[in-house]
Amino acid sequence: LLDIFTQSPHFYDYVTAAVLLLGVFNVAEVLFLLWNKARVESSELKRQGLKRLASTALITATDPAALLPRPAKEEEFAAYSEAIASVLDSFEGEIAVKAAQLISDLGIDDHYRRLARHRVWYKRGNAIDILSSFKLKSNREFFLAVFRSETSLDVRYRIIYGLSRLAREHADIRALARMLSGLPYLTAKYTEDIFYNIITALKATGSEAEFGIFMREIMNDKTVLNLVKRDCITACYAAACEKGRGLLKEYYAAFPDEPEILIAAVKALARMGDFSVTPAAIRHPDWRVRLAALKYAHLCCMDMLPEIRALLRDPSYHVRLNAALALAKGGEKGLAALRQEAAGPDAFAASTAAYALSQEAA
């Protein structure tokens, strides 16, 4: 092939054309770079200006749509949506209503709904993200319709995220759970985020109890992954879901062989100031559960001093260390036990005790 190519009578023409083409391409690249730099800088300035204008109009004007120029370019839509989302995050009442009204007055929702059907998946994903940030109830049906026709998993996950911010009632949570279980489990963080959004949305409407009903429903549902149940509990932890206390104890009792669920329950309850399961967790055969419980032992379980002291000889390094720290934080009796251990014959226990004492002194 190389021979045919090099011996062709047009060989030099080809090479010259390639050289010229590359030369022109290089010059064009440099010119494009400079043009793009100027374009981006001016569009950035314009974007910032529009953002400021929209924020001010939303807060000060009675009819902001009359003051603001209608967006036509992508950067103008982006500037307005940024400003509106920021206002919606920070304000409630009249200003929030005005912001939501502005979205439809300026055709922003229509624009992003069109983009949510773009042929490039990340543009669709970005449009869904922006629509999610508006938290508009009217987007619920749209999200559900797009979800049915959407082919990209990445975008489907984003649609569920958007829907999670709009949950209002029990049927919404069930629908979201069904949609989630129809997709491969993504990550703990993602599932937790979804449930966190749901709890926050329900709390805002005073229907936090709905989430409790949902958690009770899935507790014994074998079709729901234990990982999802764990993520529900950690979402309760993150969203400080105070009303779920009793339910979390039920979860602790129902899953004695699922350390992930037990750890999540211990932490979530402790955050609510409930240490009723901590003593049992300290005695649990799985070291991870013991470790999670020991972090709170000084707050609730100093009557278990001999048991905690025995954990200074636990096979797990982390358990030994945290048992010592729990004793150090547990008052004079704990410190006395540590002092004895530090002078004792067991090198492992002595070194951890010495460390905990030094930490306490510091």
């Binding site: 690249e29 793009n36 730099k37 990550t187």
Partner: protein, 472 residues
């Protein structure tokens, strides 16, 4: 017979050189195109409000141990640690490992941060030289200093891993500065993807930038030719190279200057191995470990967490560094030779490792053959002057377009260098690289190929970080 063999060799070499020329430039062009797609997508998905809201969230994070190996880093260590203590992150610890420094690195740390001995038992999970003492700062409870017998960078990070308390660790060079949100951006990925085991951000050149209170406040292209040329090289290597390898699931290097790892996985491969290319070696062993055991995993490069690092400003230092990198790469490839053209390791072997063997390892030898064969072929009448000039122009123009393509990726998406003069200088350097600089680097890589068994690191001069400008 001898003449025939010579004739055959000359002909064969022509084909080899021409095909190599086509192959290497095509690979680089393909990488740029892949990177462009990836970076535009990444920019779209990470700048959305929802994504930024999640980044700023304090509910979801995994605590991180930042490990800083330091050997004779007295000149820069205080500023580096101060910068690290100011990171935006909900829960982290900074572990400085003083790797048997012979200067006053430890003394300065002790004075500045009020170090007190810590008796926390160290769990020996990965091997390293003996620890002489562990200290904790009185003022900053999340600053730990480990003093140990000298054992090299890999050994020091291993000690840091053993002392660390958290499930993720970030290794960073003592002369580098992390942007305040770099840790947040890179560790967030571990929350989003349970399969992620290691990630690295982009390394940018600190020379020429203004630094105040341990943070980069003004970005500029360094004035010195060598340093500015390295800006171009780093931009190309990270934005087109690593992003492209990402897309091909074949990332083999996470820079030793800034990488975040899942500790359990690093412990599972017995930590870092003592070698001059410990970063590439670790990543290759992680690939092998996961593939051998059918563990689903991801190793990713992300272009937006930024680590600023000092680049060598003297030619001798630069050559030493490149020599070390090349030796490290050869050593990593030899140690992990089971991954060469092995279908068991999938794209990582067939694309990533093959690239390193045939382009990075054998490339300098073929390039040298090219330089030597031109006069031989010309004087024996086998090469026409016109063809030579055309081929040279083609090679240089193609190379320039690859370089400008990398600059384009950076300026188009990240716009770090904002001055027009800096952008134009980068374009000029894209051409200048082919006239002397590239050949110098080639010779050093050839030297490294011959002396690849050497294990020394050499000494690098450091500039004080609070200083603007170049080779001072």
């Amino acid at each position: 017979v001898k003449l025939f063999l010579l004739w055959a060799a000359v002909h064969a070499s022509q084909y080899v050189l021409f095909l190599y020329f086509l192959a290497i430039n095509s690979v680089y062009t393909a990488l740029i195109l892949l990177a462009l797609r990836d970076i535009v997508r990444h920019a779209y998905l990470t700048t959305s409000r929802v994504a930024r809201r999640q980044l700023a969230s304090e509910f979801y994070f995994k605590p991180v141990s930042v490990i800083v190996p330091a050997h004779n880093e007295a000149a820069v260590i205080i500023q580096s640690v101060q910068a690290l203590l100011n990171l935006h992150y909900p829960e982290f610890e900074v572990i400085v490992v003083n790797d048997g420094s012979t200067d006053d690195t430890l003394e300065r740390l002790r004075r500045e941060f009020g170090l007190l001995p810590s008796v926390k038992p160290v769990r020996l999970q990965v091997p390293h030289e003996a620890i002489r003492g562990v200290y904790r700062s009185e003022a900053y409870r999340h600053l730990i200093v480990v003093d140990k017998v000298n054992g090299g960078k890999a050994d020091a990070i291993n000690a840091g891993v053993n002392v660390s308390s958290y499930p993720l660790f970030c290794s960073i060079d003592a002369d580098s500065l992390l942007e305040p949100d770099a840790l947040l951006k890179s560790s967030k990925l571990f929350l989003e993807d349970d399969e992620l085991i290691a990630t690295g951000g982009i390394i940018r050149i600190l020379n020429g930038c203004k630094v105040q209170d341990g943070a980069v406040t003004e970005i500029g292209l360094p004035r010195g030719f060598l340093e500015a040329m390295q800006v171009l090289e780093y931009t190309r290597a990270f934005l087109s190279g690593r992003t492209g390898w990402n897309a091909l699931k074949s990332l083999l290097i996470i820079s030793g200057a800034f990488g975040v790892f899942r500790k359990d996985m690093v412990v599972a491969v017995n930590g870092y191995r003592k070698t001059v290319g410990e970063d590439m070696d670790l990543v290759m062993r992680l690939h092998r470990h996961c593939r051998d055991r059918a563990i689903p995993y991801k190793i990713l490069f992300v272009p937006d967490p930024v680590c600023w690092t000092q680049a060598p400003f003297k030619l001798g230092m630069l050559l030493k560094q490149r020599n070390r990198w090349h030796r490290g790469m050869i050593d990593a490839l030899l140690t992990n030779r089971a991954m060469i053209l092995n279908r068991k390791y999938g794209a990582t072997s067939l694309i990533g490792v093959s690239y390193f063997v045939f382009v990075e390892l054998l490339g300098p030898l073929i390039e040298l053959l090219g330089y030597l064969s031109v006069p031989v072929l010309y004087f024996t009448g086998l090469l026409s002057g016109r063809f030579f000039v055309m081929l040279l122009l083609l090679a240089v123009f193609w190379g320039i377009s690859i370089n400008i393509g990398a600059v384009f990726l950076d300026i188009y998406n990240f716009r770090r260098y904002k001055k027009t003069s800096d952008i134009l200088r980068l374009c000029v350097l894209s051409a200048a690289e082919f006239f002397g600089y590239r050949q110098l680097m080639l010779l050093e890589r050839l030297r490294a190929t011959v002396t690849f068994r050497k294990k020394d690191w050499g000494i690098q001069d450091r500039q004080i970080l609070e200083d603007k400008g170049t080779a001072t």
